[in-house]
């Protein structure tokens, strides 16, 4: 059992699969010799060489096109699009090419690849380098969307993503790269589409993803210790497939729902889940489901401004507390 950073877990997960399967190749800007701008691919180039870990020009469409064509014909590419915001310059691949090919070809052609993105805020990078694009990806039929919150989940979900026969968008949270956690030795393979209950509780269910998971957990601690409110905290881990069973079962116990979303408000993943819950578990609910999100604004760069707009522990505590009191 090693103590790994989230960053090192990325490289560990990829290395595990590269060792196992010679068809796994990595491609992206500065990922090879330099080990990645976030150092998340550190060591892969030394281990696997320039043939399997490839630096590219600044050309995100070329990167994803190369990954797609290779995936269609037998390789298992893992492509990096450095900052998640840059998905916008190659969105055609996310929206129109990867996810529709199997369907349009009546099942003839699959696109088994992984796109890794440095997602999310809290790093003071400003509006064009801090976005949470999980909702961009969730809304496209045909993609799978994963966003781990801990090193061990990074390793296991990375392995699952690479082995998956469909295009998987793998969202690594930039502000989690430096965090640490225990990771067992040996091969780790997790399952896409499974949420994890990180804390059980009777009074309310809090759903969170990625950076919002530690915040939701901290809020739950405080709600319990200071206000006697006992929250269940679920780390969704995967938006597509979505583990609605775990969510609905939890609600069947707690009868109150809160989402903690880093994405800007409109059409966030929490909206989708609230709409599922409102439809399918309406009579389970004892009160309104409440979404705690970044407001619907571009992200400000300054630290103190960014801190007021991203969902914080205190905002979660206050929202849950007031909502349960009313």
């Amino acid at each position: 059992m090693a103590e790994l950073t989230y960053r090192d877990a990325v490289a560990r997960g990829i290395a595990q699969e590269m060792e196992r399967d010679p068809d796994v190749v990595c491609i992206g800007e500065d990922i090879a010799k330099a080990g990645g701008v976030f150092k998340a691919t550190w060591g892969l180039f030394d281990k696997f060489g320039a043939k399997r870990v490839c630096d590219t020009p600044i050309a995100e469409q070329a990167i994803l096109g190369a990954a797609m064509g290779a995936a269609m014909t037998g390789l298992k590419p893992v492509a990096e699009i450095m900052f998640a915001d840059f998905a916008a310059v190659c969105w055609d691949f996310f929206a129109n090419e990867f996810p529709k090919t199997r369907y349009m070809t009546n099942g003839q052609v699959g696109v088994p690849l992984v796109v890794r993105l440095g997602n999310g805020g809290a790093a003071r990078f400003g509006a064009q380098h801090s976005q949470s694009v999980e909702n961009w990806c969730m809304m496209i039929p045909g993609l799978k969307v994963v966003a781990p919150s801990s090193p061990v989940d990074v390793v296991g979900l990375m392995a699952a993503a690479i082995r998956d026969p469909d295009p998987v968008i793998f969202l690594e949270h930039k502000s989690l790269y430096a965090t640490k956690g225990p990771v067992p030795d040996g091969e780790i393979v997790d399952t896409l589409g499974t949420a994890k209950i990180l804390r059980t509780g009777r009074d309310a269910t809090i759903l969170a993803l990625a950076l919002m998971v530690p915040r939701a957990l901290a809020a739950a601690e405080e709600l319990k210790s200071k206000h006697g409110i006992d929250c269940e905290v679920i780390d969704l881990r995967s938006l597509v497939p979505l583990d609605t069973r775990t969510i609905l079962a939890s609600l069947g116990r707690t009868h109150r729902l809160f989402t903690v979303e880093e994405n800007p408000r409109l059409c966030g993943w929490g909206a989708e889940i609230v709409s599922i819950v409102a439809d399918e578990a309406f009579f389970d609910l004892d009160g309104p489901p409440v979404r705690i999100t970044t407001p619907h604004i571009p992200l400000p760069a300054a630290d103190n401004l960014e801190d007021v707009v991203l969902p914080s522990v205190s905002r979660i505590v206050e929202t849950v507390r007031r909502s349960l009191a009313s």
Binding site: P57, Y103, M104, I276
Partner: protein, 334 residues
Amino acid sequence: MKSAAPPADIPADTRLHLYHLQVLIREAEQRAYDLFLENLVKGTSHLSLGQEAIAAGFAAAMQPGDLSFCTYRGHAHTLARGVSVEKVLGELMYRDNGLMRGKGGSMHLTSVEHGVMGSYAIIGAHLCIANGAAWRAQYRGEKDVSTCFFGDGTTNIGAFHEALNFAAIWKLPVVFVCENNLYMEYTLNADVTAVEHPAADRAAAYGLERIVIDGNDADAVYNAAKAAYARARAGEGPSMIECLTYRHSGHSRADPAKYRPAGELEKWKKRDPLKIYRARLESLGVAAAKLTEIEQRAKAEVNAATEACRAAPPPPVDIAFTDVYANGGAAWRN
């Protein structure tokens, strides 16, 4: 422009094959148009009437296992790789016998078993995707070459630039074929392009050779293709070939193409690739009867396909919900 085919010895049966492909495409495309007029082609369609020599020349120069990446204007390239007319017309007519049973439509013809790795309807992407298939070949030491067909108008979009640079630096076994038919949809491409030859005049920007050929002469196309494939298979990297041609019909099924100056179509019809090639074969001493037989064989295949498609049912509606994911289904939740 590299001028007509060098006298290089194209074998006689290859020439007959080239003629057959061109005639078959012509017949099938004309039938697609007739079926549209009959209201039986329900989606859009983009014909290659007048551009047959390009599809025929490249396909004939390919080896089995070579891969084609086409655009929405891809019927010709699909047929040229040996996909049956019935499967193509069936897809245009949204019948269950269609190549993708109506799930893709005319703009996305795909037949992996024939090396047709898809037809792409959003300008630009497939140049990048073709690189990926070539990367896989290079990575694994496989000897197939990927060919990416696109139009003159496509040379102005960003993905073109990214793909060409990428292919060049990695020396990928990929051949980029620009079918320069002068027009984007309804706009003369020359009006919006900074250079005369939209592809060839940019080859140098990627360290590539400038190649312009007569796209209405199947021999010229075939020879250029052969040379490019030999280079690719020898590890010498990508080529880009600009083929000068003209589409006889409108951009898509309903376009009357009124934007053309008077006489332009007539001028190009004099250079109809089928006429050129029939004359070539005759001058090489091929018996007229042989040519007529090829023509009749093509017509018969198209007629039979048409009947099969008219008789075919629409796809069963439950297939609308299959093959989103590899498990065969569409479930995004448990």
